[in-house]
Symmetry: D2
Subunit: 295 residues, 4 copies
């Protein structure tokens, strides 16, 4: 039938008639997908309440409407900092209560999905776990948005199929995130596949995000990649920001300072407009008395 979604992705695929998926958040105007462009920002890892709160206030003031922050970090070496775990989740919830920014954090273990989901507003599946089908199924049982990062060497088709794995479990709120793939040139940490954005927009109705920080691996080109992502049709960005990047416990080379992030956001606005879109504004900060560490 001509209006059926495209095989081989019966759930994630689209035809011209399929409306875009728009993800909403209870009690706010915040959206992901559709007409708006939504910015997620925050530190690679949650290192302390203080740095998280400072970062959240800063990125909110510059126009970010969700807060990222790693609690459980997948690390190549078992001997490097792997996150503060549940303590970090608590800090994220506290800072959400302060700022009104929904939080995005990664889950790396099927057994921790319920715990992370108790705190997170959006669960992230990292590039290293895009092919971890047990984990995809487990977040598929939730009814919370999932930010799914493309694997290091995953094709676009495999990435959509990973979204399909989540969706077959009933969770239709999937955001696909391009973050660069492996290539031979060491000038950048990964090779940002900007063409994946229009290809994904043609193939699927899901929101398409970009992580310019991991794509670049160096701060000096993050703004240029952000502009390019929006010009190519991305629905949003997820950007690493740290109040004092040289002190960051992870991804120091690619984390923007608050001032750099503010400059990026100012430079981004004309491109959002050129794309015929608008920046999604952060939700109003809750009243102080509403603070509640666990949502």
């Amino acid at each position: 039938m001509s209006t059926s979604r495209k095989r081989p992705y019966p759930l994630a695929g689209r035809t011209e008639a399929t409306p875009p998926t728009v993800i909403t958040f209870a009690d706010t105007e915040l959206t992901i997908g559709g007409e708006g462009v939504t910015i997620i920002a925050g530190p690679c890892s949650v290192e302390s309440y203080e740095m998280l709160s400072e970062t959240a206030q800063g990125v909110r003031a510059s126009g970010a409407s969700l807060l990222r922050g790693g609690a459980f970090k997948p690390r190549t070496s078992p001997y490097t900092f792997s996150g503060l775990g549940v303590d970090a989740l608590e800090m994220l919830a506290t800072v959400r209560a302060e700022t009104g920014l929904p939080v995005v954090t990664e889950v790396i273990d099927t057994r921790l999905v319920d715990t992370v989901a108790m705190y997170a507003d959006v669960l992230q599946i990292g590039a290293r776990n895009m092919h971890n089908y047990a984990l995809l199924s487990e977040v598929g049982r939730l009814r919370k948005p999932v930010l799914l990062k493309r694997g290091f060497a995953a094709t676009i088709a495999e990435t959509i199929m990973a979204a399909e794995h989540i969706m077959t479990q009933g969770n239709m709120q999937v955001i696909i995130c391009e973050r660069g793939i492996r290539s031979f040139d060491t000038a950048t940490r990964n090779l940002f596949d900007v063409a994946a954005i229009p290809v994904l927009k043609q193939e699927t109705h899901l929101p398409v995000f970009v992580d310019p920080s991991h794509a670049a691996g160096r701060t000096d080109i993050v703004a240029a990649l952000s502009n390019a992502a929006i010009a190519a049709g991305a629905d949003g960005l997820i950007i690493e920001v740290h109040p004092r990047p040289p002190e960051a416990l992870s991804d120091a080379d690619q984390s923007l300072s608050l001032a750099e992030f503010d400059a990026l956001m100012r430079g981004l606005r004309p491109f959002v407009q050129a794309a015929g879109r608008h920046l999604v504004m952060p939700a109003p900060a809750p009243r102080p008395t509403q603070a509640d560490p666990v949502s």
Copy 2:
């Protein structure tokens, strides 16, 4: 010394103090590099005078200010169409005389450099010949601009070094062109390395162009890649356009129709503005009596 250009590219490298190279064309306002964004368009191959003239009139009307067209085509198979050779060069010169559009055409053999240079305003070195140092030296002896395409699997550093090969022979008018590199995903013909643009802009003072047609290998995303290229800081684009793409003798899958190119240009303008730049206008068409096949 702090104002010296960066090693290991004494000629192509830049420091913060190095002004950008701006290429000019005699008797016109046309520029490549600097503040403006310059668009080159035309067919993959020159197939006949009629199709070339029709294409040139069309792309000029939409805002292209130089005409591309292949006369000598490097082809993977020795059994496919390899261009009309000198006849094509003559047609390019005739159409230049009609439209005022300077012509860009590829040279693939050291022994043909003088012949091609007699007709071309800009000589193109194709991706397959980026490491052909004999050819780089030979075009280095000219005093005409060279559009140097990045090789299939060349690093950014190697690409700048290829420009350096040309410049050591005295020709300082080199345009570096990103056109996608080889990768594992067959969704696009090549993988457009949009991050190469800001990296190149940091490393060199030379103009940086993008060929979104070869990067994409499919027409439906050429406009999105063009927008992304400008947003990332490119100084111009070189785009394949054919009056009847299905009939094209080469690159039919990636050639835009004149209407598609016109739509692309209309969509591009807001991004050029967002980048704080302007589109370089085509030179006025010469008076009819000035037609002269060889410049």
Copy 3:
């Protein structure tokens, strides 16, 4: 200290003085690592008791000394055959009891590690899960050998680091398996990185295996890749064999028939000798009365 193992792999790394890890199996002469070359063979997926038993008898007769067979299959699409699960584990145990061949099977979920470990003699971590650190840690708590496959786009260093993740949990019996990485040429399914073998042998004391079936993705070159692997210093191979490849439910294109596997083994022997090594013989088949589905 000169005899300490190499950083940054304190457990997996080696110096010239470190002896190679040799994995043994209770009550048999079977070894993995050291002087011998050990062959694992069997179907991609366990499809039935009959086909598994037929395959096991066949590969044992040709010189394989362990049996592979997938019970839980990670599949790119959620709509394709994903294995028979625990039923397949039961069949593997039954066939082990018949043939004396220890069984190698993949685990893809932390929550299934204990179940799989109850049946398997060697647990496989597939390429898709090489960066799944939760799973690596979980198999690290076992005291059973783990066959760790290199990720699609993992560097050699990252692969050794994944082994280190397992070993930090106390399980020192890790076999590293090269199986090809992603590249741009579609002539083979993956690009077999034969150079990884001598590099791994220099960097680590762990046994190094090769999966020529997944590297090739086509049967006609599996034997050539097997010979090359042994010549480059591999300690063993894991090869897909199916009694009737065209009927295979997965990996039909790369599964050898029993006759093809027998021919491969006959062709391999001279290369094992040329390498100054010997083929590890299968353990004797147990007496019929010893059959016990769960070891």
Copy 4:
């Protein structure tokens, strides 16, 4: 017709009925292709008569039957040593006269083909020039063997097509040489695609060689890659050897000493035998009075 050669390579392709191409050299027993395995060795660049002569005597004694040596070197940077040119060609001819070893040397410019052909017994097309069709055509007009190296990022199909370019000009004596392709892992200089050997042997009747030196980029694994190449079916090897590698003006990291080359050759013989083949012996050294610098 069932006996016709395979399309799309009418000249380079093969069917099961096509006999392998065997290249012979006048007045000697020397062959390339067919049953024997032929070893080419020598320095990356010819640096002086003395070092070339010393290398030639050494590699001949160890079993090499042709001498390699660069006279014109394609170099990424225009500021590095680019060979001694015609002087190096003269030295090659002198050493050939002394040792009886035919010489293999690279040509990088169409205008130098006749000059290089006057001295060389085999002309090499380097990886950087595999897509330089003007150069391919020019060596196609010769009636001397051409060693054609696979490009950095050329597919196997494109490599055979480059051979076809040469053969359409009438020169049927083409040797295809795998030398590693670009990949993301920096553990080796290039990624040696050992699977290309059996694929090439299936697709074409031309001899297939391997350059393990450029593939590895490090001396410690050249012998392992050489053994693997022969086990996979290669017809020969081309290996970089220098009498004092640390002093080499180019490729110092990957050049074997004479002692290392001798050890490699001793280790290689059992693999040549295991492959059911024999090492092609060097031609006898000519009588001293025959010395003549230009053949």
